[in-house]
């Protein structure tokens, strides 16, 4: 395996591209840094001047209002200047390549790129291009690439789990749903295994489990009832609507029957188990409303923590 491209010479975090290969201390440092940021939202002036004068470009080649907004809020609470670019339809259709776009924005003195792209590895490509062009002072934060990684989502999931459950080494965590296409699942799996979580399970039909996923340190369950037994944390994944019918799954209804989270299935987990979801939810497809809005759901706190975690990532990366 080649050197982890997101770490600098002294092991400092220069880019955040994936949680794979990040040392546990780096992850813990991000989570620790996020903690005091949570309270900034309670101030009269909801911002601190850490990134004043820095230009953060939200470079979204795949539209996602929610993720873009949380990054925007995080950057603005750090007093950065935020420029939003939804490139999905504009430049690439005019023949401009991804790296052309990056070079152009560098010429506008970007300090940081927050990148969302439908192709796995696009943020890595940008990071290595910046190095080649002698612009390694420009930072890249992956906001989701293809099926590969969504590291800030993984970190906010870890933050949420640590907030409610403290010690990863005592936990059983189940990730339920479309693992095959899920960058959220991949990032969370790497994060959980790095933090020495006792057991990480994935629960899905065989059509939605990627090859040799066990090599990532997880145990695969096809039967949700079996997989939920004695879990401390249940993470539900979003099922994209285009995958609800076709060769992967016959129908949303049948999916819900087997893999939808209901109070009855949740009863198999530990009594104090928490329920998470990266959002946006498909109520009645992967999760029933009673659970989503129930006492064990920590889905809304996840959103709050998400901003603090992204503030932590932006401020750590920008300083290195």
């Amino acid at each position: 395996m080649s050197r982890n491209p997101q770490l600098g010479r002294n092991g400092e975090l220069v880019h955040l591209l994936t949680l794979e290969g990040l040392p546990a201390e780096v992850i813990a440092h991000i989570l620790d840094t996020a903690e005091p940021f949570v309270s900034i939202a309670e101030r009269e002036v909801k911002k601190v001047p850490l990134l004043r004068g820095k230009a953060v470009f939200n470079l979204f080649f795949e539209s996602s209002t929610r993720t873009r907004t949380t990054f925007e809020i995080a950057a603005k609470r750090l007093s950065a200047d935020v420029i939003n670019l939804n490139i999905g339809a504009s430049s690439t259709s005019k023949g401009e390549t991804l790296l052309d776009t990056v070079d152009n924005l560098c010429a506008m003195n970007a300090d940081m790129f927050v990148v969302r792209h439908s192709q796995s590895g696009a943020p890595h490509l940008i990071a290595s291009h910046l190095t080649t062009m002698g612009r390694s002072y420009v930072h890249v934060v992956n906001a989701g690439d293809g099926r590969h990684a969504h590291p800030t989502q993984g970190l906010l999931d870890l933050y949420t789990i640590r907030h409610y459950k403290k010690d990863f080494r005592a936990l059983t965590v189940a990730i339920v749903g479309d693992v095959l296409h899920s960058r959220v699942a991949r990032s969370l799996i790497h994060g959980l295994t790095t933090m020495q979580t006792a057991q990480v399970r994935v629960i899905a039909p065989r059509t939605l489990v990627p090859a040799r996923i066990e090599a990532l340190g997880v145990k695969v369950y096809n039967d949700m009832r079996e997989g939920l037994r004695d879990c401390d944390v249940v993470v539900m994944l979003r099922l994209q609507s285009e995958r609800m019918k076709g060769a992967l799954l016959p129908s949303p209804g049948e999916y819900f029957k087997h893999y939808g989270l209901t109070d009855e299935k949740l009863a198999l987990a530990r009594p104090d188990a928490i329920v998470m979801h990266p959002g946006p939810m498909n109520r009645g497809v992967e999760i029933e409303t009673a659970v989503a809005d129930g006492a064990r759901s920590v889905i809304l706190p996840q959103v709050t923590f998400g901003i603090a975690v992204r503030m932590a990532v932006l401020s750590i990366v920008a300083a290195n």
Binding site: M1, S2, P5, E20, T97, L98, L99, H117, Q119, S120, G121, A122, H124, L125, S128, H129, D145, G146, R147, H148, A149, R183, R186, P210, A211, R212, I213, A215, L216
Partner: protein, 428 residues
């Protein structure tokens, strides 16, 4: 022009020769090994001390990008690359733009190649019109124009009825059929081997069954029709096992592997290196071991370069959007030598995989140094190391996963038809 290649180690498996001896060339042909012809007086003597003298390399798959894709490469650049790599004959697949499905295109290509007077170019014609897998091409016309075989290049023929008929029709007239086994549906959208690496990196994947199913289909049709087929670019251990069994069964098949598959595996994708995006995909290290063993025991007859010059625009994009392929003509010899050295395959046998065996698949005679044959010869220094780099490659396509690697084995002279068409100093 009389040329004497002096004091080289002459290695020619066809003629059963492996000894240090002078080789004499006159009027484009080899006129003797060891004993000089009467009244011999060389116009030029090539001092081949320490070098290996072998038949010119024959490559089963080298994309020259003409017609239609000249921004990626031209005949001039790629034929210069061929002779720099010791390749004196090459077959080019029909996936040009437009595809080689009309005699006029083939004649033009042959004509262009002849005027350049470098390596011999043997076009492979399209098996179906436009490579669309629907209607047969005029194979006899194409063969007259110069096509040595017919294939679908990397585009699978989905309709098995058309495939069977294409084989039957080609077989009727003795045309060669080359097929790359890949199931179109299982490979759909995939860019990497279906294994741990693709799962980690979140890359859409292609299972091994895409190859084995297609192999089983082709072999069933070979059994049914009796038409011989050459199988292109094996990538998996399971594929090698199927071919081994089919050969034991006596089916009339041969097969090849791309030389990069003998050295790389999916782990070489690293963090999304687009240079490692190849067709078929790099598979597991276990598959690579089986391919190497298959090449050593002869289950795999031929090692080819699968040369595909891709420009930077095609590679400086995210992995899944990258054009597949790598430049390879200049790496065929050193990478074959590397495999042979690592797996202790005797030199004559290794050279056989890139000379005599591919010549026989194309059907262009023996590729031997026996007296009377055309003097298509490669003289290389088996000790000299060089580094694969953008400057050192003559091909217009500079992209290969081996960039930066030091390889051993440098071509000193290449002769085509008795003329020195490539020459390189002993020391860089």
């Amino acid at each position: 022009m009389k040329i004497e290649i002096a004091q080289g180690r002459v290695v020619d498996s066809a003629a059963g020769i492996d000894r240090v001896a002078p080789l004499y060339i006159d009027a484009g042909r080899i006129v003797g090994i060891g004993d000089a012809p009467e009244n011999w007086r060389a116009d030029r003597i090539l001092d081949a001390r320490g070098c290996v003298v072998c038949p010119g390399l024959v490559d089963l798959s080298a994309r020259l990008r003409e017609p239609g894709l000249e921004h990626k490469a031209t005949l001039e650049s790629e034929l210069a690359a061929a002779v720099a790599g010791g390749v004196t004959s090459l077959a080019c697949p029909p996936d040009t733009d437009p595809p080689l499905d009309e005699p006029g295109l083939v004649e033009m290509l042959k004509h262009r190649a002849r005027t350049l007077n470098q390596a011999h170019v043997y076009p492979v014609g399209a098996l179906t019109a436009g490579l669309r897998g629907e209607a047969l091409t005029e194979m006899s016309e194409l063969a007259e124009a110069g096509c040595v075989a017919f294939s679908q290049a990397d585009i699978p023929l989905v309709d098995t009825q058309v495939l069977l008929r294409a084989m039957q029709y080609a077989g009727t007239f003795g045309h060669r059929v080359w097929l790359r086994p890949q199931d179109a549906h299982l490979a759909r959208g995939g860019v990497a081997h279906d294994g741990e690496v693709a799962t980690r990196l979140g890359l859409p994947s292609i299972p091994v069954s895409a190859e084995t199913i297609a192999l089983a289909t082709i072999l069933a049709l070979v059994r049914e029709s009796g038409v011989p087929v050459h199988l292109c670019r094996l990538s998996s251990a399971a594929g090698v096992a199927i071919v081994r069994a089919a050969k034991e069964e006596g089916l009339p098949i041969t097969c090849d592997v791309a030389v990069h598959h003998l050295h790389l595996a999916d782990t070489d994708i690293g963090w999304f290196d687009p240079l490692a995006n190849l067709t078929p995909p790099l598979r597991s290290t276990r598959d690579r071991a089986a391919l190497r063993a298959g090449a050593a025991d002869g289950t795999i007859d031929v090692i080819c370069s699968d040369h595909a010059p891709v420009d930077d625009d095609g590679k400086q994009v995210p992995f899944g959007e990258a054009e597949t392929g790598a430049t390879g003509l200049e790496l065929l010899l050193p990478l074959t030598l590397k495999w042979a050295a690592e797996d202790r395959v005797p030199l004559p046998e290794a050279l056989e995989r890139i000379t005599r065996a591919p010549a026989s698949v194309i059907g262009i005679g023996e590729a031997t140094l026996a007296a009377g044959n055309p003097a298509d010869i490669c003289v290389f220094d088996p000790q000299q190391a060089w580094t694969v780099g953008r400057q050192s490659l003559k091909s217009q396509g500079k992209n290969t996963p081996f960039l930066g690697l030091e390889v051993i084995g440098a071509v000193r002279w290449t002769l085509v038809g008795g003329e020195v068409v490539h020459e390189r100093n002993g020391k860089d």
